[in-house]
C-alpha cells in the first residue's frame, strides 16, 4: 500500500478499508467484550454445548415426518370444527336475542344494579364489608373503607391466581397426583360461585346472613370433599402402580 491512501472521510476516496490481519473478526470482538455482554456470550456458549451433549447422550430417535401436513389435513379439520362452532353461535343468537332495558336515567335508581354475569364474582367481593377488620386501638375505627377493602379483595384474588405457577412446582399433572392443588382449585371455583351468589343475594329468598356465611363455608366444604376423594383415589392409584411394579420386580 502506498503512503497516500489515508482514510478519507470527504467522500473522495474509496472510503472502504479492506480487512487485514489486524482487524478483529466479529467473533473476536464478541469474545473480547467485558461485562454483561461477555456473560451473555459465555452463557449461550455453555447452553449450546449442554444441548449438544444431551442430544448425543439421548436414545430418542428423531424421525423425519411425524405427523399430518398443515395443508390440507389440519386446515380442513380446523375449518370444519370452526364452522360448527360459528354455527352454534348463530343458533344461540337467533334463538335467544338480547334484551335492551330502559334508557339511562341518573334520577331513578333501579331495583337491580348488576354488571354482566362474568363480573358477579368481582361485584360480590365488593360486599365483604362485614369482615373488614376494625382496630380496638382506633376505637373500633376501620383502617380502610369497605369499598377499598372490596377493591383490594379483587386485587388479592387476581394476584393469587397469577402466582400459582410459582408456588406449585414439580412434574405432577393429574389432579389425582396432587390432591391438595386440585382441592385448592375446586375451592376457588366454588368461591367464585358463592361470591357471585352474594352479588345477587337481594334477589334470593334466603337470609343475607346465611348467604354471607355460606360464601366462605361452601368453598371449604367443597375443597375438603375434593381433597378426601382425590386422596382416596390416589391410594388406589399408587397401590395399582406399586402392585404392577412388584409384579415385575418381586421383593427378595
Amino acid at each position: 500500500m502506498s503512503d497516500n491512501d489515508d482514510i478519507k472521510t470527504d467522500g473522495s476516496g474509496p472510503g472502504i478499508v479492506a480487512p487485514d490481519d489486524e482487524v478483529p473478526t466479529w467473533r473476536e470482538r464478541k469474545e473480547r467484550t467485558t461485562g454483561l455482554s461477555r456473560l451473555t456470550y459465555e452463557y449461550f456458549e455453555r447452553a449450546r454445548r449442554e444441548d449438544q451433549d444431551l442430544r448425543q447422550e439421548s436414545s430418542y430417535i428423531e424421525r423425519d415426518v411425524l405427523g399430518f401436513p398443515a395443508w390440507p389435513h389440519e386446515t380442513v379439520r380446523n375449518l370444519a370444527i370452526g364452522s360448527v362452532f360459528v354455527g352454534m353461535l348463530l343458533f344461540l343468537s337467533a334463538t335467544m336475542p338480547p334484551h335492551l332495558g330502559d334508557p339511562a336515567n341518573p334520577a331513578v335508581t333501579p331495583e337491580i344494579i348488576l354488571p354482566d354475569w362474568y363480573l358477579y364474582w368481582s361485584f360480590g367481593l365488593l360486599q365483604l364489608g362485614p369482615i373488614n377488620p376494625d382496630l380496638a386501638i382506633l376505637g373500633g375505627e376501620k383502617i380502610m373503607s369497605d369499598e377499598l377493602y372490596g377493591v383490594l379483595a379483587n386485587v388479592v384474588v387476581v394476584g393469587a391466581i397469577a402466582i400459582v405457577p410459582f408456588l406449585n412446582k414439580g412434574g405432577a399433572r393429574r389432579p389425582v397426583e396432587q390432591p391438595f392443588w386440585a382441592a385448592v382449585g375446586v375451592g376457588g371455583v366454588m368461591f367464585a360461585f358463592t361470591t357471585s351468589v352474594l352479588a345477587i343475594d337481594n334477589l334470593l329468598p334466603i337470609d343475607p346472613n346465611i348467604t354471607f356465611d355460606l360464601t366462605f363455608l361452601l368453598p371449604l366444604v367443597a375443597a375438603a370433599i375434593a381433597y378426601a376423594v382425590l386422596k382416596t383415589m390416589r391410594e388406589g392409584y399408587m397401590y395399582d402402580l406399586n402392585r404392577r411394579y412388584y409384579r415385575l420386580r418381586p421383593p427378595r
Binding site: 395443508w71 362452532f85 335492551l100 362474568y118 363480573l119 365488593l126 412446582k169
Partner: protein, 266 residues
C-alpha cells in the same frame, strides 16, 4: 463511484435475445421496473419461505406418538376451549365492526332519550338483520368470556401452567382481565339503566382507591359522575385500545404455545 450494471445483468439485452410476446414483454418490463425500485425479489423469497413453512409437517404430539388417544380422547373437547374463545373473538370483531357503522357514542338527548340508546333501538328495529347482528355480537362476547374462564380451569386442573409455561399463564391472566374489560366497556355502550349503574359501580370502585383513585376515575371514566365523556371513553377503549392490545397478546399467547408445545395429558 456509481454501480454500473455488469454485462451479464443487462436485462435489456436479455429481453431482446428472448423472443417474447407482447404480453410477456410488458409483464417483464413492469416487473423489472418495480424490482429496480422496490427489490421485489427479496419479498418473493420471503413468500417462498412462507410457502414451505405453511406446508411444514407438524411433529406428532405426545399422545399421538405413544398411541394414547384411546385413553384421553374424552378430554379433547376441553383442549379446544382456547380456540373457541379465539373464534368467538373473531365473530365478535366482525359483527362489532358492522354494529359500529350505525352506532354513535353520544349521550345527547334525543326526544328525552340518550342518542346512543336511540341508535341501538334503531339498529334493532330499523336495520335489516340489525336485531340478529346485535344478538350475534352479544352472544359471541358471552361465549368468548365463558370459553376463556373454562380454558383457564382446564389449564389449572391439568397442571398445564407448570414449569416452562409460567409466562404464558401470566399472559393468560392478563388476557382474562382484558376480556372482562372488553365485556365491561361493551356493557356500558347501550347506555341503558343497567349500563349507567354498572358504570356508577366502576366510578365508585375507582374513587375508593387512595392516591391514584381520582386520577384513574378521570382517566377511564372522564370525571366523577357519568356522562358524555364516560360513554366516549368506553367507546374508544372498546373499539380502539382493547382490540389492538388483546389481539397482540393473543398472537403472543398462541405463539408461545406453538414454541413450547401443548401441555398434553399424560
Amino acid at each position: 463511484m456509481s454501480l454500473e450494471p455488469a454485462d451479464e445483468y443487462d436485462h435489456n439485452a436479455w429481453l431482446a435475445e428472448r423472443d417474447l410476446s407482447l404480453i410477456e414483454k410488458t409483464y417483464l418490463m413492469t416487473l423489472i421496473w418495480f424490482d429496480r425500485r422496490f427489490r421485489l425479489v427479496d419479498y418473493m423469497e420471503l413468500l417462498e419461505d412462507m410457502y414451505y413453512k405453511v406446508n411444514l409437517q407438524m411433529p406428532k404430539s405426545h399422545t399421538e406418538q405413544y398411541n394414547l388417544d384411546n385413553k384421553f380422547w374424552y378430554w379433547y373437547p376441553l383442549y379446544a376451549l382456547g380456540s373457541f374463545s379465539v373464534i368467538a373473538y373473531l365473530v365478535a370483531a366482525v359483527s362489532g365492526a358492522l354494529l359500529g357503522f350505525y352506532y354513535a357514542p353520544s349521550a345527547a338527548s334525543v326526544n328525552g332519550d340518550p342518542e346512543a340508546y336511540v341508535q341501538i333501538v334503531a339498529i334493532m328495529m330499523d336495520q335489516n338483520f340489525g336485531f340478529m347482528l346485535r344478538s350475534i355480537h352479544r352472544w359471541s362476547a358471552q361465549v368468548m368470556t365463558a370459553a376463556v374462564f373454562l380454558h383457564m380451569l382446564r389449564v389449572y386442573f391439568t397442571g398445564a401452567y407448570k414449569e416452562p409455561r409460567e409466562v404464558n399463564w401470566l399472559i393468560g391472566v392478563v388476557l382474562l382481565a382484558l376480556t372482562m374489560g372488553f365485556g365491561y366497556t361493551g356493557y356500558l355502550l347501550p347506555w341503558n339503566q343497567l349500563a349507567f349503574w354498572a358504570g356508577q359501580i366502576g366510578v365508585e370502585m375507582a374513587l375508593a382507591v387512595p392516591i391514584v383513585g381520582e386520577w384513574t376515575a378521570q382517566l377511564i371514566f372522564g370525571g366523577f359522575s357519568l356522562g358524555q365523556p364516560t360513554l366516549q371513553r368506553m367507546y374508544i377503549l372498546h373499539v380502539f385500545v382493547l382490540p389492538f392490545v388483546v389481539t397482540a397478546l393473543i398472537v403472543l399467547h398462541i405463539g408461545i404455545v406453538w414454541m413450547q408445545g401443548i401441555a398434553e395429558p399424560h
